[in-house]
């Protein structure tokens, strides 16, 4: 059954003369989920987001956002909340007044207090934005994106400038939005954060798509690293041989054997084989690859 998509693009491309910012991007962002949008600096994330928001025109390609054509942004933007390329406000106006400007532009009303409360800046809402820390501006930008109860929230690096507690709050907020049926499309270079909050992932490198799909599928694509430490150091060499027989890339380091890229049953097999060979294991751990490790693996070797 085809997935219900909030954003879909076909061959989306943006060129600046000879330079390709985004190349033939076929994007599929499922409705009602958190989709992480990851890529190194200059990968084309912000350019893609700007195209989705009608700020820049694609050189070629088509697409739909919330079922409306990409080349008619006015038809869908009233249902979209966005934070693009960092928080942007009038520094002399208060946080509340800044939100009032945006609410009047959108032709909506009555959402300011809720947005301020959700993002936790209601106690400073009447202070000039110029006096806010970067983290507070980031929260205010999130509040601005949430005005008008959007169906799709597009956030470009929303955790920038936030302390760990703030990042956790943002993560909770994004999760809550998705649980309420809002589609969240969030770009970040803080890969660990996306790993915790995303259901779906889009990886971009040099303007081209590297991976898109379920986060769990991506994590499953890369096998875990098994680390086994024998009780007696004299067994290290024998244990390394046994691990090599199980496949994967084996390394001996700090009195332990690590096998990367081994299959899912490898740890049990290694334990059994070591026991059969009379080797007692003092430690046997299985470390799943982090999203960051997978990301660098994909972007560095160009795998798709």
């Amino acid at each position: 059954m085809p997935m219900d998509l909030a954003v879909r693009t076909v061959g989306l491309e943006k060129r600046y003369g000879e330079r390709v910012a985004v190349e033939a991007l076929d994007l599929a962002v499922p409705t009602g989920r958190v989709t992480g949008f990851v890529g190194p600096n200059g990968a084309g994330k912000t350019t893609t987001i700007r195209m989705l928001l009608g700020l820049i025109r694609p050189t070629s390609g088509t697409g739909e956002v919330l079922g409306r054509p990409l080349d008619r942004p006015a038809a869908y933007l009233e249902r979209v909340g966005a934070l693009v390329d960092g928080p942007a406000f009038y520094p002399r106006l208060s946080g509340r007044a800044n939100l009032a400007v945006l609410e009047r532009l959108a032709g909506t009303r009555g959402g300011i207090e809720r947005a301020l409360e959700l993002t936790g800046i209601d106690d400073r809402a009447d202070d000039p934005v110029g006096s806010y820390s970067l983290g507070m501006r980031q929260r205010l930008a999130l509040a601005a994106a949430l005005l008008g109860d959007p169906e799709l929230v597009v956030l470009d690096e929303p955790a920038n400038g936030l302390d760990p507690a703030g990042i956790r709050e943002i993560r909770t907020l994004l999760r809550r939005l998705a649980d309420d049926g809002v589609t969240v499309f969030v770009s970040s270079h803080q890969l660990a954060e996306l790993e915790h909050v995303s259901d779906h992932l889009v990886l971009l490198r040099a303007g081209a798509l590297v991976y898109q799909g379920l986060l769990s599928s991506l994590l499953a694509r890369r096998a875990a690293t098994i680390t086994a430490r024998p009780e007696h150091a004299a067994d290290l060499e024998a244990l390394a041989r046994i691990a090599s027989d199980g496949g994967g890339h084996v390394r001996v380091r700090d009195g332990a054997v690590s096998a990367a890229g081994a299959g899912p049953a490898a740890s049990a097999r290694l334990n059994r084989s070591a026991h059969a060979a009379g080797i007692t294991l003092a430690e046997l751990t299985v470390a799943a690859p982090t999203l960051e490790e997978i990301f660098f693996g994909l972007t560095e070797d160009g795998a798709r």
Partner: protein
């Protein structure tokens, strides 16, 4: 467009716009010192500071209105600066992105902002005239017969002059909008705008006096300073309106079709 207008009204609460009104009032009072104190037997052109009327001209019913019109060049500088700060600031702070996402009809966004600025400028001119007119009476002193300023004809001329100043401020504003949209920077727009109003046009008229009949800045100055010839004034008004329309249409087209990358 109404949405953009209403949004802009919130922005106009910033202290910058109160300082703008204060600056226009200050320039007006300085201009009046030159224009109405101790008039001579013949009129004298003081360049950007205005046309100082002869004693007879100053004591005429339109003497006050024409003297108030002398502020037009300085008014232009303040208006260009304010409009450039307003629109250039949108690019500087990045608020142009959030505005264009919230109101994706870009033509309406720019025109709504411009209309709000027009409203602000009209209030600025009215407040300035309300302060400057009695101030002119005081500055003129007992040596100048100001009785005709306050007669029926004089008050009508004052209202007409105020209208002309408002129209002039709007025309300057359209030039400011065009420059700010084209240059996407307040300092650049202010620099180019003021350089154009003062040295460029003044030099152009020195070199080719006939150019005064169609250069935008000269037409705006001529409109605000008024004159006896109603037909010539109507022609000037058409010229100013034409330039303002060209500037506004040009700015709207650029704003509508150019990518927002700031």
């Amino acid at each position: 467009m109404i949405r953009a207008f209403r949004g802009e009204l919130v922005k106009l609460r910033q202290s910058t716009y109160l300082f703008g009104i204060a600056a226009v009032i200050a320039f007006m009072l300085i201009t009046l010192v030159v224009s109405v104190t101790d008039p001579g037997p013949v009129a004298g052109d003081r360049g950007p500071a205005g046309l100082v009327l002869s004693r007879d001209g100053l004591e005429a019913a339109d003497g006050l209105a024409r003297s108030l019109g002398n502020v037009v060049t300085f008014l232009g500088i303040v208006v260009l600066a304010l409009v450039s700060v307003n629109i250039g600031g949108e690019y500087r702070f990045g608020t142009i992105r959030s505005s264009a996402v919230r109101l994706p009809f870009r033509g309406r966004l720019l025109l709504g902002k411009t209309m709000a600025l027009f409203g602000y400028l009209a209030v600025t001119v009215v407040v300035t005239v309300a302060i400057a007119a009695p101030a002119a009476q005081l500055m003129a002193g007992p040596g100048v017969d100001t009785e005709r300023w306050w007669g029926r004809e004089g008050v009508a001329e004052l209202m007409l002059g105020t209208g002309s100043l408002i129209a002039a401020s709007w025309a300057w504003a359209t030039i400011g909008v065009l420059l700010a949209v084209l240059l996407r920077s307040a300092p650049a727009a202010i620099g180019v705008g003021i350089a154009y109003i003062l040295p460029v046009e003044i030099l152009a008229v020195e070199v080719a006096p006939d150019a005064a009949a169609w250069l935008p800045g000269q037409l705006i100055v001529s409109l605000a300073r008024g004159g006896d010839n109603a037909a010539a004034q109507a022609e000037t008004l058409v010229g100013v309106a034409s330039w303002a329309t060209i500037a506004l249409v040009g700015a709207t087209l650029v704003f509508k079709f150019r990518d927002i990358t700031d």
